[in-house]
Chain length 183, copies 2
């Protein structure tokens, strides 16, 4: 299902990425698009909005992102679990994954790589610091533009635990009263 | 509640850390212990078992971990939400957080820093690569020893979404049949 998204402040991207969901990374290089499934990532800073990801050099996406300097981080929800699993288990070298998996490209505002219309949110990223790319395949990105579906406010994201299994996002609990500096 | 833990393979630590839970980091330096709440982290490699964390230089723990080269990553569950929130909102400079929050130290096998007996799992870590510590406060650790409570198999972890709110780990879904190379 295509999800209509609205602009969202990049400095608040942690709202969706900090809980540690599996994401779909889309990239474009020399006229070809690719998508990979990724679970090894972390927020690194609010402003600039920095996000880090370990993208193994064995992935076709590693080269495309390194060479283009860009990608889009897309947030799938539990209804996409089969697509997430299948994308994580095939190679992008000879496959148009958008076509193969019935996904719809969205045009990005700040990067060449397309977003995925079926995902709950899309974060356009540019490589910000490549100091650990060669040694550890760890990219530091700046999130330059964010697009988020307004409802539901708490998407049922997927969190990979290994062995072909995921845990979904459960209930929301506030402890705001215990926070002295809420962010 | 104190949780009895068993040895667990370090290369499988992703089982608990990859889903993106909030963790409690314990450290020891010059005879003093500290604990901090942390949500900005990621698995980086299976073997060696590498884990990365952004530990802001404004935290007392940053200096203790940088100077000792060690820490323990402890996995709290939803019953500890008040402790997790309170630790995240106080300073360790003049406080024994173990005593303040009624937490019990466990002796570690490979590092000086103590574990937290009330947590579901504890991962002993040594700094493995400090190339991004100065510029981005990003530490790469090797997990050198893991201790995990055997039951429940799927702990109800806490995942921070900002604004004083957490989402808990929900239901487990397997898609193993769609995985070609299960890990």
């Amino acid at each position: 299902m295509i999800k209509k998204k609205s602009d969202f402040p990049v400095s608040a991207a942690r709202r969706y990425l900090e809980p540690g969901p599996v994401v779909l990374i889309s990239s474009r290089w020399q006229g070809r698009d690719n998508i990979m499934t990724l679970g090894w990532h972390t927020i690194l800073e609010f402003e600039p909005s920095l996000w880090g990801a370990m993208i193994s050099s064995g992935n076709h996406s590693h080269r495309m992102i390194r060479d283009s300097g860009e990608c889009v981080v897309n947030l799938p929800t539990a209804d996409m679990i089969d697509t997430v699993s299948r994308i994580g288990n095939c190679d992008g070298d000879n496959l148009d994954k958008f076509e193969e998996f019935g996904l719809t490209r969205t045009q990005s505002a700040e990067v060449g790589a397309p977003g995925i219309a079926q995902c709950h949110a899309s974060f356009e990223c540019k490589v910000y610091d490549d100091a650990l790319v060669k040694s550890r395949s760890f990219f530091v990105f700046e999130i330059v533009k964010a697009h988020v579906t307004e409802q539901p406010a708490h998407p049922e994201t997927l969190h990979y635990i290994g062995d072909g299994s995921f845990v979904t996002a459960g209930k929301v609990i506030s402890r705001k009263s215990l926070f002295t500096k809420v962010r």
